[in-house]
Each structure stands twice: as C-alpha cells, then as structure tokens.
C-alpha cells in the first residue's frame, strides 16, 4: 500500500473470478458473432468453423455464470435477481439478458442448424442413443425439403436476432463497469464499445485456435482459405479494438481530470506488466505486425511470402498472444479499477491466492471447464464439415 486508502478499501471487492466473467462472456459473444458472420453475410470461407463457433459459444455460456455465483456472499439467494429485480440496476438485467441469449438465441439456433443431422443420427443409431437423439429433435423428425427450408429460414432469423443480442450481452457487461461514476478508471461511455470489440477479437482468436487444434488432432488438413479469412477478420477486429482503446486513453490523457495523477501512477507501477507489456505490446502490437505482414489482410498473399506451415504457426501464435492480451484487458479493467483509492490518494496491491474459492486453482478450473463441455458437445453434435471426405476440403490461399 502506498499513500492513503479509505479504511474500507484495504480489501479488493472483486477478485480474479470477476476478471473471468467478462473474459468468458466476451468469448461467447465473439464466437457467436463470428458464426453469425458466416450465416448472415454468407462468408463461405469460414464455414468450416460455423458449428464449432456455435458450440464454443454454448460451452462458454454455460460456464459464464459460475464465477459470479462463486463470488456472491449469498449464492443461495441469487434467484432473487429474477424474482425481484431492481429495474434501475444494470446488474439486475444480467439474468434476463443471459437467459434470453442462452435460451432464445443460442440453443434455438443450434437446434435449427442441427435438426436435420439429429434426425439422421436418430434414424441411424439404436438403443439408448436412438432415444437420446430423438429427444434432442424434440419429436420434429420431418426432413422433407419444405421442413429443411423452414429450418434454414428460421435459423437465419434467429441469427439476425442473435447479432444484436450478442452485442447486447457483451456491451452490457461493459456497461456494468462503465456506468460506475464513482470509479474514474471504469466510468467511460466507450467502455461497452471497447468491451464489445475486444470480445469479437477474443472470440475469433479462440475459434481460430480451436479450429486448428481440433483439425490437427483429427489428422485432417487445415483449410487454408478458412484460416486466411479468420486471420484477416482477426486483424481487422484488432485494429478497431486497438483504435478504440487508444481513443479512450488519449481522451483521458487530454482531459486530465483530477484522477489523472493517481491513474498514471497506477499504470506506471501496478499495471506496467499487465497493461503495457501484456495488453499493448504482446497482445496487440506484435500480433498486429505479424498478421499485417503475413496474412492477406493488407496485401493479397501477405507482404512476406511464407510457407503455409509457417503461416499456420504464426497465426496460432498470434491468436494465443491475443488471447493473453484480452485476458490482460479484463484484468486491467477489473483489478486495475480497484488498485487505487477513491480518495485518489493511494494505491494498493492485489495478491492472487493459489487455493481457496477465489484463487488461481479455481480460476484455471473454470477456464478448463468450458473446454471439457465443448469436448462433450462435440461428441454429441459433431460440427465437422470434412467428416466423410477427409482430404477434399484443403486448399491453399
């Protein structure tokens, strides 16, 4: 501790678990927006990732509430948010936004998209499995051309509703922080927008990593056209995200409100590694340069001609670095916002504990859980487009 903190500020209110919450919802929104791009705007190239992105969004969505619940003083009362929500509270709406997104958007979209396959799996299998898939179809086993057209039409509509919903879901998480006028580090109209674009970046990066890994582990060839497109999207989204972050930064610096002194101190000391090194340098600038040079984002085929294998490695590295960068963004927002006193006279420190409900172990567990769920989902609803013809979908950019 350095300087003066109000007595009640000696403990941080929101810990590592609350860093996870915007991080995970960001991944959900980002993965979903990527999937929607393919569907609504008909981006054929990224089609191999469409279902994978949907399932990823679902897997992370199912986990999104856990860090929040684990953090509550009285988790057993959490249902009160639904029973007697305070309509003026930004947080109260979370339950509804979440339920809407999970129930109405994600599940329905996945159902429409998979119905034909589920019917097929139901017809092909026997015993328990047969009944399981029958249950998943909800009894709708008509696969006539008309029925499939209906699926497609409604699936499309749901996607169209889904895009603003995904924006809402994550923009809203940004609003939870951005609307706190007591906290100069959080309070910013740009917060929801910055959250949204960083979410899109993280979602694309995650799907890119998952697509590459799952393809490699299934011993298939990576579809380079698809990968190229993902890398391009990643580059563009990252540019927008970085511009917004910079705008926010410059705006604060230029306005130089009374909090500027303590906030600069905080960035120089407490947040140097996580903000300057991890978020800006490793998570943004280096990937931007790497993607800019090698992908087709700025120049067809990239400024640097590199072999596809090397390019794959570069994209994978970039995506992982970006992922670390986005996690740092969440950390810098959530933890950074609590490292300085609201008296603007002091800084405190946050030490992550290893064990315990708010500790590192639980956090890592909560980060792995969606991957386990995804693994199960992929087993139940295989998302691959290259199943029967392992080698036909390759192409080079």
């Amino acid at each position: 501790m350095q300087g003066y903190m109000y007595p009640n500020e000696f403990e941080l209110q929101w810990s590592l678990l609350i860093v996870l919450y915007p991080y995970i919802t960001g991944l959900v929104a980002g993965a979903f927006i990527l999937a929607s791009l393919e569907r609504v705007f008909n981006v054929k190239e990224v089609q191999p990732t469409y279902r994978l992105a949907l399932l990823t969004a679902l897997a992370f969505m199912l986990v999104a509430t856990l860090p929040l619940l684990a953090h509550l003083g009285h988790p057993e009362r959490s249902y009160e948010i639904f029973m007697t929500p305070n309509r003026k509270s930004a947080m109260a709406m979370f339950g509804f936004v979440y339920a809407w997104y999970l129930m109405v958007v994600l599940l329905v979209e996945i159902w429409f998209d998979y119905r034909k396959d589920m019917v097929q799996w139901y017809r092909e299998s026997a015993g328990l499995k047969r009944w399981f898939y029958y249950a998943l179809t909800l009894g709708a086993t008509d696969t006539s051309a008309d029925a499939l057209k209906f699926d497609d039409k409604w699936g499309r509509w749901i996607t169209i509703i889904g895009i603003p919903s995904a924006f809402l879901l994550h923009g809203y998480v940004g609003f939870i922080f951005g609307s706190i006028k007591a906290n100069p580090w959080w309070s910013s109209v740009l917060m929801p927008v910055v959250f949204l674009f960083s979410a899109i970046v993280s979602g694309i990066a995650l799907v890119l990593v998952l697509y590459m890994l799952t393809t490699m582990f299934r011993w298939r060839k990576i579809d380079m056209v698809c990968l190229e497109k993902l890398a391009q999207f990643l580059f563009y989204a990252l540019i927008v995200d970085f511009s917004l972050e910079s705008l926010d930064f410059i705006h604060r610096l230029y306005e130089a409100e009374e909090s500027i002194g303590i906030l600069s101190q905080m960035i120089e000391s407490r947040l140097f590694i996580s903000l300057i090194v991890l978020q800006v340098l490793m998570g943004t600038i280096i990937p931007l340069v790497m993607l800019g040079l090698t992908s087709s984002a700025l120049h067809k085929g990239g400024f640097l001609r590199v072999a596809p294998e090397l390019r794959q490695l570069i994209y994978l590295t970039c995506a992982v670095m970006i992922q670390i960068g986005i996690f740092s963004i969440r950390w810098n927002v959530v933890i950074g916002g609590q490292l300085f006193s609201k008296s603007l006279r002091g800084l405190t420190v946050y030490k992550v504990e290893l064990l315990g409900i708010e500790g590192l172990a639980v956090t890592i567990g909560l980060l792995c859980l969606p991957l386990v769920i995804l693994w199960v989902l992929v087993k139940i609803l295989p998302p691959w487009t290259d199943q029967e013809t392992p080698t036909t979908s390759q192409a080079t950019a």
Partner: protein, 265 residues
Amino acid sequence: MTEADDQAISNQDAPHNRDPDRREFLNEMLAVCGAAAPVFFGIVRVPVQTDEYDASDHHYGMGIDVNKCIGCGRCVQACTIENDVPEEPHFTNTWVERYIIKTDGEVMVDSPDAGMHGFPRTGDEGAILKTFFVPKLCNHCEEAPCVQVCPVGATFTTEDGVVLVDEEYCIGCRYCIQACPYGARYLHPEKHVAGKCTFCYHRLVEGLVPACVEVCPTQARIFGAVEGRPTPLAQFMRFNTIQVLKPHLNTQPKVFYANLDGEVR
C-alpha cells in the same frame, strides 16, 4: 443535547414518501438492527415502535464541523460497539481522517484503525502549514448510487431519508461497494452482506440520536432533520458555509460539512 435533538426530531414534518413499498423491509430492518438485544426482545418491541414512530415525519441528515473535531476517535469506538462492527479485520461505518498540509503543498492523509484510537504523533513532518481532522461516514445520499445499482433492491432509502441494507435480502454481490464514491461500504466478514452506517436507525426510531453524535465531546457532529428551522442541523446549516463531498458526482449527500478544506475528497 440529546433531549434537544429528540425534540427537534419529533417536531419535524418532512414527509418524503419515496419508497412506500419498502415499508415491510423497514420493519424487517428494525428487527435486524435490534440484533444486539436478544432476538425475542426485538420481535416484541418492533410492532410497538412502528405504531409510534412515523417515518414520513422525518428526513434526516448530519452536519460535521471540521474545526471542532479533535480526532479523539470516540465516535468510531461508539459506532463499533453500538453496531457490532467486527474489529478484525478492520471495516468501519465511520472513520476520522487526519490531514497534514505542509508549507510546500504536500498533503499527508492517514486514518490508522479508522482513527478509533486517536492519532499517533508522526515523526518528521517538516514545516506544517495546517492540519485538521475530518470525520467521515455514509452520506445517505439523496441520489444514492448504491441504491441504484443493487440488483435485488436490498439497499434502499427509507422514507425518512436513511440508506439501509436489508440483510435478509442482500446477495453479497458487492456492486454497491463499487458504486459508492466515498468508501462508506464493506462486505460484512461474518454476515457476508453489505455493511454500512445506518445513522443508528434502531436508535432513531426510539427518538435517540446516532451513537457517534451522542459521544462526540466537542459536538463536531450534529444530527437532525434536514429541513425546518428549529432543528440543530437546520441551524447549523443556516449559520455555516456548507460543503458536501464530491459534489460533482451529483449524489446529493446529506452529510453536510462546515469549514471543509478543498483537499478533502
């Protein structure tokens, strides 16, 4: 002084009927506030009280005269005892800050143990321009951000203008603690619900003043209804230049400071 205040309190007519459907919470709150006494005692007493005490008759606030505070910390002690605030780890409903402003403009602020045990001499302060003490507590804001953000409505404003937490209802999300610009809230380490100053609501309904006001040896804290001439608070506000903390945030605090230095935030 207490008597005078009692008079003032019961004489006031300042109905603020902002949250009538929270009446039942209020009743529960009364029971909860009585927790220091045996539970059955609280249950027996509460109904009798609500009959006599009409919340719509009052609208409370507090005045603090910075020049009068000597930094003895009696208020903090009294509050801790009266409201069962756990001493370890040290959270607090009210605290006293010491400001030391040096001739070169450097400002040193501290509040060891919330000022509960007074203030030790600091070593080498150099040339001091001025020094003073500032008692702080929940401002019972008229436009309270903590009330706005509470997802379940567990934090609420009573009809008489006091911001309270319903301990049976709070889910412990800590959003209100983040939203309070003044550091007035904490998560109660044993009850796992938001904790804060209640203006000693359990005392108010009996016609008493908050414990901190009662024990202050210099009458640096003045309590009463905000409006109307006869109350000590109204007098205080009339004869002093009044300032509130962080006015730019438009929380409309109801703790009013006289002789407040610009360095205090």
